[in-house]
Assembly symmetry: C2
Homo-oligomer: 207 residues x 2
């Protein structure tokens, strides 16, 4: 998407949050909101909001505030919310199960298509209506079922090899939950979730 290539990754990372707040406003039948009001709700500054949203070109009208629905729809387009994405989960431990049961994904257009594991005691069990498949069958499965995203919830030492493997099989994005930054040769988009990092940010504010 050309439009977003021009904006900084910092702004992009803030868009899902705008999207959540705008969604709440729509539910409350708020049709217009000023950057000032939005900033109070979001706990940020009005100038930050104007800067962020200006990157995407002219949503705001001075003196009138933002049209909530228009802004919501524009951000939804940028975020690809109107699109459907198929994903698989590799690693059916607690984190994999938690992700499989996370209802919020469905409402944002993410469709679970399969769950894989290596453990014979887990393979064949059912999670969220899906029979857990043997990880050895990834190749066969992915050839028959094109998948956009693989969520990797496997131990750290298995992650890099597995990531290269699914990237070669046409998976376009990897969502990595192991505590390492995944960097790959393959042409694949990676988003690393670092839970410990988030916990440390909490702690900095405690001490």
């Amino acid at each position: 998407m050309d439009q977003q290539k021009k904006v900084s990754i910092a702004v992009v990372r803030r868009l899902p949050r705008y999207y959540r707040y705008l969604s709440d406003l729509l539910k409350m039948d708020v049709t217009r909101i000023s950057s000032k009001e939005l900033s109070l709700r979001m706990g940020t500054t009005a100038s930050q909001i104007r800067q962020d949203l200006n990157c995407f070109g002219g949503f705001g009208q001075q003196g009138y505030g933002y049209n909530v629905e228009y802004l919501y729809n524009e951000i939804a387009k940028i975020l690809g919310v109107s699109q459907q994405f198929k994903f698989i989960i590799i690693g059916a431990g607690n984190m994999g199960r938690a992700l499989a049961n996370y209802n919020n994904f469905v409402s944002r257009g993410f469709q679970l298509s399969g769950i894989f594991d290596v453990n014979p005691q887990i393979i064949g069990t059912t999670i969220k209506g899906f029979k857990v498949m043997d990880q050895d069958n990834l190749e066969t499965f992915l050839k028959e079922n094109p998948i956009d995203i693989a969520m990797l919830t496997v131990p750290s030492h298995q992650t890099a090899i597995l990531a290269e493997r699914v990237a070669k099989l046409g998976v376009k994005g990897l969502w990595n939950f192991s505590p390492m930054d995944l960097k790959l040769e393959a042409d694949v988009v990676v988003e690393n979730v670092h839970l410990s990092d988030s916990l440390m940010v909490l702690v900095i504010n405690l001490i």
Copy 2:
């Protein structure tokens, strides 16, 4: 901590990542590193690194690079890594279980002290050596066991009430996994983990 109050929240959020990279460098016996080399490893710019680390005052020596161990220790202090924090998990579903089993927390000074749930079928079962306690016993437990952090992995509609409840009982920080920004009357530090937001950032780079 006075020192970190002066730096922007954006910098603070990047420190755990520096900490991870420096930890890896130490394991590889790297004693000095320039901002340029570090930037190549971290996939950021050298000027970003210099700006970020200058906020904390004079770690770098021009022409000599950073002393890895010194920088690691200083960031560890800022991050409170040398301190011990006691935490409880409220909500023993899949996400709660995943957090209980996340070994990385222990190595960063986080000590699990109890797990709570409301479900009679889960109360009394054992997770990571802890008998899951009845959420009704939170008051009694927290009076006897001062706790720094509560990880909240309960359904969204229960989160706010529960958060106010434990904040009143002396818990200082809340790590919230429900898909909402938790804002409270109580004097408590909140860090919200928004998994869907992270997934949306991945998607933006896919489309």
